[in-house]
């Protein structure tokens, strides 16, 4: 059923169609609309049986989900940014215990300075936590990925994080094709837990494991994640048969068949990138794009294959490995058969900084011409940062950086002292 709706609402509908039995909610922007919508459905009895629990923190949200999942029901929660960090201990724990929880992360920057806008710092900070991490390009994919996430999670007994860009997707009204309950039921079998807390068959979950077996446990987590790399492509046909479209999977490619330059990115920015590519293609530039849908496990083979013929690669990412540069680009470089020098890192859109076609066009142009620096900060106000750095060299008590920049930029209301 086609519907013009907000991304959060679409995801909430998709989650509801997956029949979650316990939903834990703690408010944090920009994921709030999703759980609000689910809460309304539970209260109204549209989603039943289901327990909607307003918890006191993200740590509790994930912990309640852990308990529910271990007790054999389908558990779901959503978070973002600081919330994801606050629950980090439990995030690792859910993966370690092999509990198939599905969580939406409405990607948002991490403070300080506090910032509610979109980038991927939150999800990528958890890249080694053991969860499967899927990134949605648009709201349709966000919706579809949630349905796939439950199946994947339960098949592998691993938690899955579905990442969608905060505001850009969560708050955007787009047309989506909402599946029917029958379609989802046909795709997603009832949850059959690998382990369950059941008085009829008592087990102890969460043992302390020492050096004698810890490596093996970690290896098995690794091996299990890698199974997802085979499972996800194998389900494409089934998904298409039931839902009438292709969606999800490990990666998407766009016009790379003859591309010398390939832009690699995650999430909604791929839309702008594709538009920019279309424009450059019209000018005869052989440029294409590779979208990473499945960031964890990292689809090494698919990436290597997609980049096999590329002569230069631009990894555009909304995250920063402070002191190094790119996070995604490092993963890409490791999968690229060619010289690492040909992999360029472009840090863009941090804290919600707009990524415009114009900027992309200019930067891609530099890349095609071989003029792109190894690490580039897109649309960085170089003058502003230089002023701060200069001041810091002069003055010990130079004040908070964020305030300094705002002052330099002349933002009213930020003047202090």
């Amino acid at each position: 059923m086609l519907k013009q709706t907000e991304g959060s609402a679409a995801v909430a509908e998709a989650v509801a169609l997956c029949r979650p039995e316990v939903i834990c909610a703690y408010p944090i922007s920009p994921q709030t609309h999703i759980v609000e919508a689910l809460g309304r459905m539970v209260t109204a009895g549209r989603l039943a049986p289901c327990e909607f629990i307003n918890v006191e923190s993200e740590f509790a949200a994930m912990s309640v989900a852990i308990g529910a999942s271990a007790a054999g029901v389908r558990a779901y929660t959503a978070t973002a940014s600081q919330g994801l960090l606050f629950m980090a201990e439990a995030v690792y724990n859910a993966a370690g215990l092999g509990l198939p929880i599905v969580m939406t992360v409405a990607n948002r920057a991490i403070g300080a300075p506090i910032n509610i806008w979109n980038d991927h710092s939150d999800a990528l900070s958890q890249r080694d936590c053991g969860w499967i991490q899927l990134f949605a390009e648009d709201n349709q994919e966000a919706l579809d990925l949630h349905i796939q996430a439950f199946r994947l999670a339960e098949e592998l007994s691993l938690p899955v994080m579905v990442c969608m860009d905060g505001y850009i997707l969560t708050h955007a009204y787009e047309q989506v094709d909402l599946p029917t309950q029958e379609q989802v039921d046909a795709y997603l079998p009832p949850y059959e837990p690998r382990q369950v807390l059941d008085p009829a068959s008592p087990i102890s979950i969460g043992a302390m494991v020492g050096p004698e077996a810890f490596m093996e446990v970690r290896y098995l987590a690794h091996a299990k994640q890698k199974q997802a790399l085979e499972l996800m492509p194998s389900w494409t046909d089934e998904f298409k048969r039931i839902f009438g479209r292709e969606s999800g999977g490990l990666t998407h490619t766009y016009r790379i068949e003859d591309a010398d330059t390939v832009v690699v990115a995650l999430g909604s920015v791929l839309g702008t990138i594709k538009d920019t590519i279309d424009g450059m293609r019209e000018q005869g530039v052989r440029i294409g794009a590779l979208g990473i849908t499945c960031f964890r496990p990292w689809p090494t083979v698919a990436v290597r294959r997609a980049l096999a013929d590329a002569k230069r690669i631009v990894v555009l990412e909304k995250s920063l490995a402070v002191g190094l540069g790119g996070i995604v680009s490092n993963n890409v470089a490791a999968s690229y058969a060619g010289s690492p020098d040909l992999v360029h890192t472009v840090i863009a859109g941090l804290g919600g900084r707009a990524i415009t076609r114009a900027s992309l066009h200019q930067m891609f142009g530099q890349a095609v011409e071989g003029r792109l620096e190894p690490v580039t900060f897109l649309d960085l106000d170089h003058a502003a940062v230089e002023r701060v750095l200069a001041r810091e060299r002069e003055q010990r008590r130079s004040g908070p950086i964020a305030e300094s920049i705002l002052r330099d930029l002349g933002v009213v209301g930020a003047r202090i002292g």
């Binding site: 215990l97 007994s157 837990p193 690998r194 043992a207 446990v217 098995l220």
Partner: protein, 542 residues
């Protein structure tokens, strides 16, 4: 179900693979300690043992345990001076357990229900002669009969019971009780000949074809003291007076009766005199209350009944209707010395209660048999110097009480039985003593001692009705449950409960517990929390 995750998820029961017993440096062990009551009992009763059953209301079992050592619980429950209660650990907590009264309840219950002793499984063919049907003789007869020996008792008097009948007044021991308990012994097949004095023991043995003999003739000859007395004065001895109470005619003592002596017999005499109508019944004793050999309870009861006692006094002269009394005082060594101060007391009769001697004439000419200080000399095996002749009760050295007599009878029986088999009886090693400090008294709830009903004073002064009444069942059980079970497991489940390692195995009712040393870490909690001190810690052998 699918395969569970590796290592993180574990199946129940798996920790049993970890034998934590290897951590142990000390190990707990169940033991039976000797409770003070058992230790103090002259008859060697397993008091804690029978109280255990009484607590459960299993009175017949209690009676069967009790009568392994003492065939006369209804009698003993009345006349024993209960050293067990004096020794009782509970006295240090609140008051001692009323063992004597419970024993009486059980004894009476046995009579009421007509429980019988189990007859011996087989006869040994050996014959034992017992001379004297007092407590010691009856006790020996009972034990020997149960061991399968043919037992014959010869009693010089007209009825069995010895001092229980001829010394202890009816108000302390109703004769129906005595008769019934004696009859139950006779029902085991013990032959009793009354009015049958044994003049010569060797002769009697030979003629009767006896393999052994147990002498228990008692001490029936009243000691006398020289008191200048006028011809008209009435001087009697307590033994004769008390014995005459069993006949048809009541002795005539007059309105004012003076009893001379400080033993239990003196008090029995004074109390009897009161009941016979004496307006005044005065005990004259040469020393102090503290030095008096009579038991405190006798004194208390006598005083309640109006008996008067003059301490530190001796009778110097007895006249027709008065006596002269000299005051005494204690010297530095605590001996009574005359003071030269005299007073005169009115007295219609003077009854001497100065102790008894044994008539040892039947032993004349027995080779090897030694007499010392007026009593027969026996070894630890209760045998006299003449093989096959054993003796006990008041006719050997020792405290002269019914309970001691019963103990002698039992001990003699065991030795006689061994001797008849050509063996030697060895006293089993005593258990370690269960002193108060071995107990964890926190677990015992506060409970005051139960009191037996007592006859009102008026009736105590005029009738021979039993003074002290019985417990009802509720009270008997309540009192039994005051027992701390010192040193002996009473299956309270504490060790089973407090072990943090589940290393105590409960074996079920009556079966107690076992340690599972595979898991016991030797923490000692079971030892510390055992209320009755029935677990000890011993170093682990490494």
């Amino acid at each position: 179900m699918k395969t569970k995750p590796f290592a993180i998820t574990l199946d129940p029961g798996s920790s049993l693979a970890n034998r934590t017993g290897s951590w142990r440096t000390v190990r707990p062990e169940y033991i039976d300690r000797l409770p003070p009551c058992n230790h103090a009992c002259p008859a060697g009763e397993n008091i804690q043992g029978w109280l255990f059953h009484a607590e459960s209301g299993h009175y017949e079992e209690a009676w069967r345990v009790l009568t392994q050592d003492n065939p006369l619980p209804a009698v003993m429950g009345r006349v024993c001076y209960h050293p067990c209660e004096t020794a009782c650990n509970r006295a240090q907590l609140d008051e001692s357990v009323g063992i004597n009264a419970i024993e009486r309840f059980i004894g009476d219950e046995a009579l009421r229900c007509r429980w019988k002793f189990a007859p011996p499984l087989s006869a040994t063919g050996k014959r034992v002669l017992i001379v004297g049907a007092g407590p010691s003789g009856l006790s020996a007869a009972y034990q020997l009969a149960r061991l399968g020996h043919a037992v014959a008792i010869r009693e010089a008097g007209p009825a069995p019971g010895g001092m229980m009948r001829f010394g202890i007044p009816k108000y302390r021991l109703p004769r129906a009780v005595l008769d019934a308990e004696i009859q139950r012994i006779l029902d085991l097949g013990v032959a009793l000949e009354l009015d049958s004095r044994v003049a010569n023991v060797l002769d009697a043995m030979r003629r009767g074809g006896f393999d052994a003999v147990f002498l228990a003739v008692g001490a029936h000859i009243a000691k006398r003291a020289y008191i200048p007395a006028g011809s008209a004065s009435k001087m009697l001895d307590a033994i004769s007076v008390l014995r005459s109470m069993e006949g048809g005619e009541r002795p005539l003592l007059g309105r004012r009766v003076v009893v001379y002596g400080g033993g239990n017999t003196a008090f029995d005499m004074a109390r009897t005199a009161k009941r016979l109508g004496a307006e005044e019944s005065i005990i004259i004793y040469r020393r102090t209350r503290e030095k008096m050999p009579a038991h405190e309870s006798e004194l208390e009861e006598a005083l309640q009944e109006g008996v008067l006692v003059k301490w530190l006094s001796t009778i110097r002269q007895a006249g027709e209707s008065s006596i002269t009394v000299e005051k005494m005082q204690l010297d530095a060594r605590g001996n009574a010395q005359p003071t030269g101060e005299f007073e005169t007391l009115e007295a219609d009769s003077v009854v001497l209660a100065l102790g008894q001697d044994v008539d040892l004439s039947l032993l004349d000419g027995v080779p090897g048999l030694e007499v010392q200080d007026g009593v027969a000399k026996v070894g630890l095996d209760m045998m006299t110097g003449h093989p096959g002749i054993f003796a006990g009760g008041d006719m050997i050295r020792g405290e002269r009480t019914v309970t001691v007599g019963i103990g002698h009878g039992k001990l003699a029986a065991r030795n006689i039985d061994a001797w008849l088999r050509g063996a030697t009886w060895v006293h089993p090693a005593s258990h370690e003593f269960a002193s108060f400090d071995k107990l964890n008294t926190w677990y015992y709830s506060d409970a005051p001692k139960s009191r037996q009903p007592v006859l009102d004073t008026i009736r105590r002064q005029s009738t021979f009705e039993e003074v002290v009444g019985s417990f009802d069942e509720f009270t008997a059980q309540f009192e039994a449950r005051r027992c701390l079970s010192c040193g002996n497991c009473f299956e309270c489940d504490n060790c089973y409960g407090v072990c943090p390692d589940n290393a105590v195995i409960k074996l079920g009712p009556g079966q107690r517990y076992e340690f599972n040393y595979d898991y016991c870490k030797g923490c000692g909690l079971c030892v510390a929390e055992c209320p009755c001190g029935a677990i000890r810690t011993v170093p682990e052998e490494i």
